[in-house]
Amino acid sequence: MTESGVGRQTAGVLVEARDLRRTFDEGRVEALRGINFTINEGEFVAIQGPSGSGKSTLLQLLGALDAPTAGVLHFRGNSFDLLGDMAAFRARTVGFIFQSFHLLPTLSAIENVQIPMFEMPWPAQERRRRAKSLLEAVGLGDRLDHLPPKLSGGERQRVAIARSLANEPALLLADEPTGNLDSVSATRIMDLLEKIQSERGMTLVVVTHDAAVARYARRVLQMLDGKIVADGSPARPPM
C-alpha cells in the first residue's frame, strides 16, 4: 500500500479515511479524533451519533467542504489533496442534501434544480429538460414553477434531493435530511432516498441522530466524541 495516494486503486472502494482528524479553535476543540473507515461504491451508510459527536464535520470532509487537520482521505484511490479543483469535485461527484434544504428562495423549484448544472457543459434547454425529469422522479412534476416558500417542508426537501442528483453524482451526502420534517414527511423522504439509492446504484451517506433514519441504511457507523465506536448493521427495533 503506497502512502502517496496517487493512482492507488482499490476495487470497489469509493472513500477511504485513515486516522482522520479535524480540530478547531487552534487545536483546543477536537471534532474528529482519528477516524478510520472505507465506504464502497453503491453502499448506503448512515453515520449516527448524538449532537457534537463529529458526524456533520465528517460529512463536510467527505463532501470536500472542509479539509482535515491531519490524516488521509481518499476518493477512488486518490487523495483529496490531489483531486485539484474542489469546486469541480463537489459539482460533478458529490450531491448534497441539507437539513434546512438550502434552496434559493427567489428561484422556482425547476430553477433551483438547475443551479448545479451550470458547472456542466449543458445548454439551457438541456438543463431544463434534466431538471424537469428529476422533479418528476421525486414526485414534484406539478410543482415545477413553485417558489420554495410556496412548498411544504417535505416538498422542499424533494426539490433539494432533485438538485443533489442534478449532475449525476457518485456520492450523495445527506445531513439530517429529515431533521426539519414531521414524521410522515420524514418517512416519505427516507423511502424516496432509499429508492433513488437502490435504483441508481449510487453511494449514499446519511448523517443522523435518529435511529429510525439510520435503520434505512445497510450499514451504520456509530460516532461518539469524534470517534467511530461501532461499525455494523443497523440495530433493529425491539419487536
Binding site: D66, A87, R90, T106, L107, E111, I115, E119, R163
Partner: protein, 373 residues
Amino acid sequence: MTFFTIICKNLLRRRTRSLLTIAGIAIGIGAVVALASLAWGFETSWVRTYTARGTDMIVTKVTSQSPIPAPFAQERVRDLKALPHVVQASGLLTDLISIEDAPTVLVFGWEANTFLWEHLKLVNGRWPANDEEPVVVLGSVAADMMNKTVGSSVQIETGTFKICGIFESSALAENGAVIMRLPQMQRVTEQDGKVNFINLKLAPGTTQQQIEELRQAIKMQLTGFKAFTASEVAQNNSAIQVAKAMSWATSGIALFVGAIGVMNTVLMSVFERLHEIGILLAIGWRRSRILRMVLYESIMLGVAGGILGSVLGTVTVKLLERTPLLHGKIEGEFSVFLFALALIISIGLGALGGLYPAIRGSRMHPSEALRYE
C-alpha cells in the same frame, strides 16, 4: 434558466434598493452627459464661429492663452495676403465688453467688404454703410438680451452707437455678439491701427501638408505669431479649457459618489446573501462564477443607471437651452461618442463598485458561509 436570469432575479429581489442605486448612478452619469455636452457644445460653437465665416486659419500673436489675444499692427494682414494658398486675409479686432446692464458681450470690429460678413443673415434693418458711420449690428440673441431693436442706441465704452440692423448666424457666439466696422471698434477701444485676429481663407483643395507649410511660413515671416486652424483655436482657448476642466471635475465628483453608492448596495446585498453564496459554493459553483455573478449584478446596475442618466442629462440640457435666462447662450452637443462614453463610464462605475463585494463574496469558505442564516 440562464446565468443572466439569476442575476436579474437577484437584482429584482430588493427592487427599491436597486432602483435607488440606479437613480444615484443616473444622477452621476446625467451630470457627465449634461456637462460634457455643454462643454463640447461651447467648443463647437467657437469652431463654428470660424467655419461659418469661411475661415480656414486664424493668426494671432502668441501671448497668453487668453480668449482675447493681444492687439498688433494691422499691416500684418497685408503681409499674409502675399503668402501661397491664401485667397483672402481679413483683420479683426475683438473684445469682451460690458454693455449697459447686460453682462459681458463679444464685440467685433470687422473690415468692410470681406468674406467675414458673407455668412450673416440680416433679419431686420441694414448693414453699416461706411467706416465713419457710428452704427452697430446686433446678433438676435444679443438684441433680445439687451432688449434693443433697430433704431435704438447702445452705449459701448465711451461711444454711443445706433443699431442699424439685427442678424442671425449659425454660430452661437455670433448670435450673442455686437459687430461694427473695424475703424469704429479701433476708435472705441483706443486701438487705432490694430487688430488681434487675422482670418485667412485658403484656396479650395489646400492639402493638410500645404497647411502645415503655410503654418511654418507664417511662423518664419512673422516672429511671435502663430497660425491655428479653427478647431485648434477652440482647443487652445482658455475659456473652453476651463469649461471642460470644470465639467470633468464636477462629473468626477458625481461619479465618485455614484461608485460609492454602487459599492454600498452591492456589499449589502452580498452580506445579506452570504448563506446563499455558501449554498452555491457547496453545490459546486466555482469562486470565479460567484465573482462574475456579483460583478455582473453591479455592472447591470451601472448600465441601467447609465441609460437613465443619458436620458436625464439630455433632457436637462434641452430644458436649460429653452429657459429664458440661458436661451441662445448654451448649446449642448450630443453625439454617439458622448453616449458611448457615458455607457463605458457607467459600466466602469458598476465594475469598480462591485469589485470589492464580488471578491469578498467569492472568497467565502463554503462551510462558513452555510452557517449564516
